[in-house]
């Protein structure tokens, strides 16, 4: 039965195709029906007229019968829909200017949102390449002064045995083999290593593509010279050799046996993995050194909140058991997904929010255009209503037109998104720290297409609703009588002006957001790094421990290198530091300044950097007291130089030079060191971070950054520098040479990129609002041509009319502006949170920014009113009145 019904519907669907033919056929059938009936009646002795009359009565009317038949043959609902669509398309074609503006507006809104959604989807929504990735959480310890997702190994072991919320808990550390030399077939490669606990891969649900995972016993100190290679390094260094398993390779000067090759799903950039037991021996036993990161897989049904509570209980016990080390330690859990999205998460969310506002503005704009247009169409619609079209039908017609517009906008938007995605993607790839799964694959995938379709529909409904509602309430008689001159202007309580107000308000909010970031960026560019960054080249040097075992060998290398570098024409000076400023140092330490007694466990922390004796002079860092290092200073002398901040904060109103500081290195007694000098502050943690206390030690080790001050364009010396290194030690891997200005720029890259996107969104918002204002004013002037003509004819001055028109429009804009400013003010807390870390020395309510934005909006709005208003009033009244 049901099959038969389905068949019926299908036949009806196809019935749409040969409708004409079917109708002709039926007309014939009906004609013969009537003829036979009439013949029967005639035979019964009726007069021809009476026979015909009765036959038609019996039939129930020819037209009605044909109508019933037609309805059964085809699908009347679908037919009217197609009719409406056709009509809608015709209307859009007829008003091609209107259509173009509307479609372009929508395309901008939809395109921008689609592009950014595909990133949101890739970074924040799409499932991670691990089994049940939502159960994965990062667990780490918080310390009063140190940020970063790390904990100590002994604490991790306690967590692993005690915590009940997790199916499994694993740990890894990038600390010891952050970079190592790895002997491939043929050449030595520089590789990133990671130490992992044996259960990390099973926890992530990853299996080696070749060989095996680590064994539990390999996590112990014995038998642990085993390594798992990444697929990438297996390809790069070992030519995909399937026989690699069981072979021995050299790694950082020691030999390891390859036991497995891991596929590419591992989320962090890593070339090889070693058992966690390769941690530094003190890291394995001390609760002081935070060197591992922990990952847990929650048991099914356990929430991250429950797990956090349990972990806090455990942490509380550890605090009481080990007060010396754990007293100020807290514990924190974050979903793996957030952790992997890293610095991209806040940026992407912020930009997404901004573009969502732009889409709303676009909707308001198109809605306004439609309102203006529907006012012009009131007569047409009133006539259609008068000849029998129901209100429902009219509203449906308008909605169909809106949806058509939205679909066109959606298609154009998709094209726009496809064009802008590569730019967006490469921009994002340029600013991410580490590797974010799925980011490279960002594209117009199904979820993104579905999103584009969804928002197109939604926008269609959004901007179509207001005009459709208005139409459903038009007064037939009045409209027909007035000749269809419905007026759209900028009067109060006019839906157009409400929309304009909303547009301006939304645009102001995005402008304020972008403005705050621009101001932050300006301030940041004015920050003095504390050293001369111009004409400065940076080059990393890593001396392999295998060949540079003694301090003497290292020292010799640097001496020879320095001589060679200084011989290069164009080189002024050369200096070394173990880690470039603008990023945290390798080592930090707690310290106590002489004469101070901080509460145990709450000692202040200082950055520590090692520099050679030419460093300060070469960098242009001013000497503020005492002396600088000379060639004879050695690290073992325990003579240090501190920065100005440290001198000011810890030796207030005292002479720091000659005083001692007690360094809390290990678990033993503090080491006293002597201050021999004070130097100016440099921005050691980055331009946007406050300067921290810094302790400089003399002499650099095997890992250092060579800084070269040049008298010529620095990058032109890059190859000469590399050559000097090659001549000093031909076996050293070649390194990338960058100018410090490039590095400074790179530290601002993520800020710059966010700023660019936000500025694009803000300018789009402002542009759309301006177009909206322009459109409404132009339309209202055109509608009132007649009135303007009469006023001019009666002696009104064009300039007065101009003032009148602009005045009304500007009143609306000012209201929107006030709303927007109030909104931005009210949202300032949210804005501050959204732009977390992006605001620099600017409060989210910065009055200067607010004022500048207000001025900008008023100027743009004035222009958008003035142009159409002037055109509308510079007319010859005679022409107008004659024309009417």
């Amino acid at each position: 039965m049901e099959m038969r019904k389905l068949r019926g519907w299908l036949v009806r669907l196809f019935g749409l195709l040969h409708r004409k033919q079917r109708e002709q056929e039926f007309a014939e059938e009906l004609e013969n029906h009537l003829a036979m009936h009439i013949e029967d009646k005639l035979r019964a002795g009726m007069s021809p007229e009476e026979a015909r009359r009765q036959t038609l009565i019996k039939l129930g009317g020819v037209t009605l019968t044909k109508e019933l038949h037609r309805e059964q043959v085809g699908l009347p609902m679908l037919e009217t829909l197609i009719q409406d669509l056709r009509f809608g398309l015709r209307m859009l074609r007829k008003n091609s200017g209107f259509t173009a503006v509307a479609v372009l507006t929508l395309a901008l809104g939809i395109g921008a949102n689609t592009a950014i959604f595909s990133v949101v989807n890739a970074v924040l929504l799409r499932s991670l390449p691990f089994a049940e990735a939502d159960q994965l959480v990062m667990i780490w310890e918080t310390q009063p002064d140190v940020r970063g997702p790390v904990g100590t190994y002994p604490d991790f072991l306690d967590w692993r045995t005690e915590a009940q919320s997790f199916q499994k808990m694993a740990a890894f550390s990038n600390k010891r083999y952050g970079k190592a030399e790895l002997s491939g077939y043929g050449e030595t490669l520089e590789a990133l290593g990671c130490l992992v606990s044996q259960d990390l891969f099973p926890l992530l649900g990853l299996k080696p593509i070749l060989g095996r995972n680590f064994l539990p016993e390999e996590e112990q100190l014995i038998n642990n010279r085993v390594v798992i290679l990444s697929q990438a390094i297996w390809r790069r260094g070992f030519a995909n050799d399937p026989g690699i398993i069981g072979k021995s390779i050299q790694l950082g000067g020691a030999s390891f046996t390859v036991v497995g090759v891991m596929g590419e799903q591992y989320p962090l950039e890593t070339d090889f993995w070693l058992p966690l037991s390769h941690l530094h021996p003190t890291d394995l036993t001390s609760r002081k050194h935070h060197s591992v990161q922990a990952i847990g897989r929650l048991k099914p049904g356990v929430t991250i909140e429950q797990a956090r509570q349990e972990m806090e209980t455990i942490n509380e016990r550890l605090r009481q058991l080990y007060p010396a080390t754990n007293k100020n330690i807290g514990v924190e859990l974050t979903p793996m997904r957030h952790h992997l999205a890293g610095n991209l998460r806040p940026i992407v969310l912020l930009v997404f929010a901004a573009f969502a506002l732009i889409l709303l503005i676009a909707c308001a704009n198109v809605s306004n255009l439609l309102l203006a247009q529907s006012a012009a169409r009131q007569r047409e619609l009133a006539i259609r209503a008068a000849i029998g079209a129901g209100r429902g039908r009219l509203v449906r017609q308008l909605f169909i037109e809106s949806l058509l517009l939205a679909s066109l906008g959606g298609i154009a938007g998709l094209a726009l998104a496809a064009l802008s995605l590569p730019v967006l993607r490469s921009g994002l790839l340029g600013i991410v720290t580490g590797k974010i799964p799925g980011l490279e694959a960002t594209g117009l995938d199904w979820p993104t297409l579905a999103f584009a379709f969804g928002i197109s529909l939604l926008t269609g409904v959004l901007f179509g609703a207001l005009p459709a509602l208005r139409i459903s309430r038009i007064d037939l008689n009045r409209t027909l009588k007035e000749g269809g001159k419905g007026a759209v202007g900028l009067g109060r309580r006019n839906p157009s002006s409400v929309l304009i107000m909303a547009e301006v308000a939304l645009a102001v909010i995005t402008l304020v957001g972008a403005g705050l970031l621009v101001r932050s960026f300006q301030k940041l560019l004015q920050v003095d790094p504390g050293f001369r960054a111009d004409n400065l080249l940076s080059l990393k040097i890593e001396l392999p421990r295998s060949r540079y075992q003694s301090g003497e060998q290292v020292k010799n290398f640097y001496q020879q290198l320095t001589t060679r570098i200084q011989a290069i024409p164009g080189v002024q000076q050369v200096g070394f530091i173990d880690r470039l400023p603008l990023a945290p140092s390798f080592a930090i330490s707690k310290f106590v300044a002489e004469g101070q007694q901080p509460e145990p466990g709450k000692e202040p922390i200082a950055q520590m950097r090692r520099v050679d004796h030419r460093f300060f002079e070469m960098m242009g860092i001013p000497q503020r007291g005492g002396r600088l290092f000379d060639e004879n200073d050695a690290i073992a002398d325990n003579n240090v130089i501190i920065n100005e901040t440290m001198a000011r904060d810890f030796f207030t109103n005292q002479e720091p030079v000659g005083k001692r500081i007690f360094m809390h290195f290990g678990s033993g007694e503090p080491t006293p060191v002597q201050i021999i000098g004070v130097v100016g502050d440099i921005k050691d943690l980055g331009l946007d971070a406050p300067v921290e206390p810094e302790i400089y030690w003399p002499g650099v080790g095997g890992e250092a950054v060579m800084l070269t001050r040049t008298t010529v364009e620095p990058l032109s010396l890059a190859s000469a520098l590399r050559q000097a290194i090659q001549s000093t030690d031909p076996a050293l891997p070649t390194q990338h040479v960058r100018s410090v200005e490039q590095i400074l720029d790179a530290t601002l890259a993520s800020r710059r990129f966010t700023l660019d996107l936000l500025c694009i969104s803000a300018l789009l918002g402002l542009g759309l609002a301006a177009i909206g204002i322009y459109g409404v004013v132009a339309y209202s002037v055109a509608q009132r041509r007649h009135e303007i003509g009469i006023r001019l004819a009666l002696g009104a001055q064009a300039s007065d009319l101009l003032k009148l028109i602009i005045g009304r429009a500007i009143a609306t804009v000012l209201l929107g502006l006030a709303l927007g400013l109030a909104g931005a003010f009210a949202l300032s807390q949210l804005l501050a949170r959204l732009t977390a870390g992006l605001l620099f020395e600017i409060r989210p309510t910065d009055p200067a920014t607010f004022a500048a934005i207000a001025l900008l909006v008023v100027v743009v709005a004035l222009l958008a009113c003035y142009l159409p208003a002037r055109r509308g009033t510079q007319v010859d009244p005679v022409t107008i009145l004659k024309h009417e």
């Binding site: 038969r4 019904k5 068949r7 019926g8 036949v11 009806r12 019935g15 056929e25 039926f26 014939e28 059938e29 009906l30 013969n32 029906h33 003829a35 036979m36 009936h37 013949e39 029967d40 019996k58 039939l59 129930g60 009317g61 009605l64 019968t65 019933l68 038949h69 309805e71 059964q72 043959v73």
Partner: protein, 113 residues
């Protein structure tokens, strides 16, 4: 479509099928007249309503149609039962009989002895 016409259409469809079973291939006018005659003019139908019913039955494959000549040599469309139509009629007849049998027991209670 209201429920009332739906029911009416269903009943009309059965009458059409039954008529075609009894008389063989027949044109629309013939079917309408026959239904009226059988109901002894108690059922006054608009002849026009027979056509949507015929279209629907044909769409669902219970009847088929072809052009032919009527008794008085007029060109007319003749409808005839298909095999599916016969089957449906048999099923409906059975259902009708069961339903009426049950209802009959309610309206004519068996004599109590």
């Amino acid at each position: 479509m209201s429920e009332k016409t739906d029911v009416w259409q269903g009943t009309l469809a059965l009458m059409v099928l039954k008529t075609l079973e009894a008389l063989g291939p027949l044109h629309g006018y013939g079917i309408a007249r026959r239904i009226e005659q059988i109901s002894e003019d108690k059922l006054a139908i608009n002849y026009g309503t027979i056509y949507p019913a015929l279209v629907k039955l044909e769409q669902e494959g219970y009847i088929a149609s072809e052009w032919g000549a009527s008794d008085n040599n007029r060109k007319a469309k003749f409808y005839k039962l298909t095999r599916a139509g016969r089957k449906r009629l048999a099923k409906e007849t059975e259902k009708w009989e069961t339903t009426t049998a049950i209802l009959a027991r309610f309206f004519v209670p068996p004599q109590e002895s």
